[in-house]
Symmetry: C2
Subunit: 697 residues, 2 copies
């Protein structure tokens, strides 16, 4: 549900509760920040000890405030903050920012205080930011509001910045300022007792001033809500997420491979990709990405041309492209011919185009125009040489002109210097991203490509097939009623069948005759094993016998398994026969993450999964298209391709199995974990040959 | 051989040939650069058209110069440069820098000109830099010499910088200047018609002013010489190499896997690691690494402590450590107790130590001193908060004091700002590396660890075993005399035997009786195949029959193979029997790189090597220790460990095989390529089961 945050983001009047003329008073600093930044609305300090504060009339109490105040900032002692919040509520001030710390971040008393605060949020239907936060900033042409104790009032721009951390938020604001990145909105969420990142995402979805959204998060308040909002937004504006914090808990690792392999970070990676959000990992990547994305133009294809007046830097750029997988295609004959008409004979007409040190403004302008005819983006390396026929600014103007002619093709400039010269300023003011280092420009281009790929609309989830969910639930309830923690193979196979996940041919053998009939039907060799719920270490127990090649060996295997059952006193144990399948071994799994809910896993099975941990995750629900990307993201993908006479494994079918597991995880919440290890891909089909499903009541 | 470069690096007098007062004259710019930088020796412009240039007496000709000039810089027309070089030689000027272009980089005429120049180098035994270069710079307390047309005269420092590229060299000098990195020597090698990077390495080995050597290279003038010099130097000063340029040619890919898998870049990586040099890939990495290494102190262990006054930045740093594999160990109880004595109760005493925003100079000083007691390096994040009890400079002084107390433990500071404040200057002047971003400080720490690991002395190559090299050579010469391009299995096995590389048990079967005797000896099942030189596509031809399980099948197999020989008209074909080995498949190989000479390869064989291309290289000669690292560097290393009852593969033995292949590659230059694919690792031994050795006359 979208909340109206206009009274919070663009208030006409702000009460600053606790403001004092004393230096070092946090509320006083906020009041002075509001004055200093040029907030044009009304400011109403609240402090019983003063008649005026900083030349403003002070109010003795919240109750004494006029009735139409849009927003209140509270920076007062933790012991009096709750009554003040209530007083604001009573006075009709629904928009509040609580700077005050001492809530859930500080022990039991604080947790209780935050619980009380949440009740007030609900009672007065507050738009509440915080508590324990730095505040909020709006910087647009219409509104300049620094309702925070940050010293940094950012230049206006197209980026909205939502930060869970205050100190890192301020640091990033400072870095953005250094980098010349403009910010339209900054909010530090603090403890998120009221508004979360999701409320701001909903607000920003329709905010015309914001072209790109950046979030610094240490956890997600509501991952599924976050995902739904992202899916709606990323088609029109990129969402960049810096997610930090090594979650200690992560998935509770238990019996399954899925659980033990799911590193919290891998799940976050998968989740953000499913959201269509670009994940960055460092402050530097953040700046590189936002500088490229703030304008909102994405290149149509990966074709890039590099122009340079410094050969070595061109090589560095081309090398960097190769490292991140960007193709720098050779220029066609026609383009080379056009370039040769005006570039000197010493120029290199490959890609990079080395226009050599004598290149002037006309060379840059004509070179870029010509080269962009054969590409969808350009990296222009321009470093003023010792002797330049034209002023560096003239070169910049030429680049700006060409860029304006083809606004749909990003032009990135690299100056080979950290210095913010007039050239840099002119280019940036024309919306052209400028980087010091060629490799950073290449990283930026790579972010363009990734955001474009993330933007591709996901295909809808598989046409929802009618499923016998009741039948599946009854199997689980039946097992739980018997006090079991897991299902038998046969029960598992029936549940998988409900979701269309294929299982190998199998049958319980109550007698030698039944076993022989099964073997005659599927053909030798067969596998015989003990099927009992909660039976672990089956191989070690001798409870699995493979490669049974004839009738005599089958009879012997049955005898041995019956012995194992008797010797170990196994309960509810039956003997299960399976066909033997040969092919590539795959693993599929499902587990439940405390933060993201059910997750599914795919990887190569057998030796590889255990030794290389080469698996990929997705968070349920999983569309078939997301599942395809998940399957394709494993390192060992080439092993699924056609190989030594075996046909390629059908990736679409793998994806459907993964998507079905996602569906299962949501439909059957009492299925705690699932391992299908392995599912075997034979040349003509896929089938699970081992099934582990554990339950939770 | 080490050349005396003192007359080049620290000349007392320099002739500038071609100098002119005209602006834009390159030689004139060099003369003015020399004056401007404060060169204290004698400057002697040579130009027949002027009596004085820039208030200096000009000489009408080289012959007119005094007899004791140390060095000449030549920036004159390409058509008159050779006579001028000779004239300098005649005048006894052995140190020369040739700026002039128009040599091998510019077509046939230029190549001929460079050949002539090389003759002059040899005739006069010149120390010649260039041609087609930017020149050379010395910046130390004793000598300020800008004998280049670079505008940048670097501040003196501990870094020597050898650059193959002029334009990128100047760019990097500018970046170093921005970054506050001092450079003692800069040289642009240009076309390397005289001196190469190796000559400068030899000079720098004993240069006390230089603590770290940085090279920008696009190719190696003499890789083996480079390696020998590096091995001598890296024990005392780090060598950092930025190697650019995607070599188009690379290894000539032919029949072998080794050739087709050896990407030029992978070989360069392997080579530089064997040299003990740190490879960097970007300008930014270069600066990060040099900033850390210029002081020359390396941490003893990987234990690092992170101190911060901004919690979020501490998390970012810890995350970055995790990503690059640096452990941030929790602090012990004693250290935590000591910190708790002076830090406020809100402080976080884990690692990172979050001293919160109120931390002052004493907190930083005492905190760092205490924490360094439990670690061998520290990352200190210090960003002046809104309200700080002490001046930021006081905090910096505290950090400098502690760092001086424990000079053997690197302290890296992160300021969370690109601004070069007084704090940054104070820290840097005390030799403390300062970075803006926490992740960059972590990268720097990672470089420390890598350089330290590279410095570990390599074990000597395996005690040189007496080898029957003559026997091996005779096999090859015999095959070549028959006009063959390859060896038979049996010949290959004998050569491998000479180098101690194990081969499976095998025998030629001239008759059914011999075959049966072999099978009886090694036991069924056996493998039978056609052993013929230059026989490709053996599997497709039906020339290999595996899993022969009894006498009847063996007789049948022999019959079928004889048919294949007859039908295909195979010459010199014999039937070979082998024992059947089961275990993990490995691949070893050797190929010859046009630049580095013989290289060896190791990887997992079978499906994995073909699909994942997970292989590692080393350049011959390969010490056992280098071979161990090579083996350990494959991604699939866990697959060599103990697994499902099979013992671990003996990595030392793999390394000895790889080192032996390296020995073979040097001893038998007519062995062009070798594939041992696979060598099978059974639980108790290793043995090659297929051998491909191609020859070159």
């Amino acid at each position: 549900m979208k909340r109206d945050l206009s009274g919070l983001v663009t208030p006409r009047s702000i009460a600053v509760v606790g403001a004092s003329p004393r230096s070092g008073s946090v509320a006083g600093e906020i009041l002075r920040n509001l004055k200093r930044c040029g907030f044009s609305g009304e400011l109403l300090p609240v402090n019983p000890k003063h008649e005026t504060i900083d030349d403003l009339r002070a109010y003795p109490s919240i109750a004494a405030l006029p009735s139409d105040v849009d927003m209140a900032v509270l920076a007062i002692n933790r012991d009096i903050v709750l009554p003040a919040v209530a007083a604001c509520g009573e006075r009709g001030i629904r928009n509040q920012i609580i700077i005050t710390a001492g809530f859930k971040e500080s022990g039991e008393e604080g947790i209780a205080r935050e619980d009380e605060l949440r009740k007030l949020v609900s009672r007065f239907d507050l738009n509440l930011v915080g508590p324990n936060c730095m505040g909020m900033i709006t910087s647009t042409q219409e509104m300049r509001m620094n309702a925070s104790f940050s010293r940094w009032f950012p230049q206006g721009g197209q980026i909205a910045f939502v930060s869970q951390s205050g100190s890192l938020g301020e640091t990033l604001l400072e870095c953005f300022e250094d980098a010349g990145l403009g910010v339209s909105l900054f909010v530090n969420l603090g403890n998120r007792a009221g508004l979360t990142e999701n409320d701001f995402l909903a607000h920003l979805a329709d905010d015309e001033t914001c072209h790109a959204i950046f979030l610094y998060l240490e956890s997600f308040a509501d991952p599924q809500g976050f995902r739904a909002l992202c899916e709606r937004i990323v088609g029109t504006k990129p969402i960049v997420v810096l997610k930090a914090g090594r979650t200690e808990a992560g998935v509770a690792a238990v019996a399954s491979h899925t659980g033990s392999l799911a590193s919290p970070d891998a799940v976050v990676d998968a989740f953000l990709a499913q959201c269509g959000a670009l994940r960055v990992n460092t402050i530097e990547e953040t700046i590189t990405a936002l500088r490229a994305l703030e304008r909102g133009v994405l290149p149509k294809s990966d074709r890039v041309v590099i122009l340079t007046n410094a050969g070595g830097a061109g090589i560095i750029a081309a090398d960097a492209c190769e490292r991140v997988g960007i193709d720098v295609p050779p220029l066609d004959e026609e383009t080379r011919g056009q370039l040769a008409e005006f570039l000197p004979p010493e120029a290199g007409l490959g890609n990079p185009v080395d226009m050599i040190a004598t290149a002037g403004a006309a060379d840059y302008e004509n070179g870029l125009r010509t080269a962009l005819g054969a590409a969808d983006a350009a990296i222009v390396i321009f470093r003023p040489p010792l002797v330049l026929p034209d002023s560096p600014e003239a070169v910049a103007e030429g680049i700006v002109r060409v860029s304006a002619e083809v606004p749909e093709k990003p032009v990135l400039v690299c100056t080979l210097s950290e210095q913010e010269t007039e050239v840099v300023r002119r280019l940036r003011s024309a919306g052209i991203p400028v980087y010091a280092m060629p490799e950073t420009a290449v990283d930026a281009l790579h972010f363009f490509h990734r955001v474009r790929d993330l933007r591709e609309p996901w295909r809808e989830s598989q046409a929802s097939v009618p499923r016998d969910l009741d039948g599946a639930r009854q199997i689980i309830e039946g097992a739980l009623a018997e006090g079991r923690g897991g299902l038998t193979f046969d029960e598992g196979a029936r549940i998988l069948g409900v979701f269309g996940i294929p299982v190998c041919r199998h049958a319980h053998a109550e007698s030698d005759g039944q076993a022989l009939a099964f073997a005659a039907d599927v053909g030798f060799p067969v596998v015989a094993k003990i099927d009992a719920p909660d039976l672990h270490h089956r191989f070690e127990l001798g409870a699995v016998i493979t490669g049974i090649s004839d009738e005599a060996k089958l009879a012997d295997a049955l005898r041995r398994l019956r012995d194992v059952i008797e010797v170990n006193g196994l309960k509810r144990a039956r003997i299960l026969l399976q066909e033997t399948l040969a092919g590539r071994e795959l693993i599929f799994g499902m587990d439940r993450d405390p933060s993201f809910g059910p997750i599914v896993m795919f990887g190569l099975g057998g030796t590889l999964v255990e030794a290389l941990k080469d698996v990929a995750f997705a968070v349920s629900p999983v569309t078939v298209d997301q599942a395809v990307r998940t399957v394709r993201s494993i390192r060992a993908l080439p092993l699924l391709e056609a190989f030594r006479g075996e046909p390629a494994v059908d990736i679409d079918q793998l994806a459907r199995i993964l998507a079905s597991l996602g569906e299962l995880s949501l439909a059957l919440p009492k299925a705690a974990e699932i391992d299908l290890n392995p599912i075997i891909a034979t040349p003509d089909r896929l089938a699970a040959v081992d099934i582990l499903i554990t339950l939770r009541p």
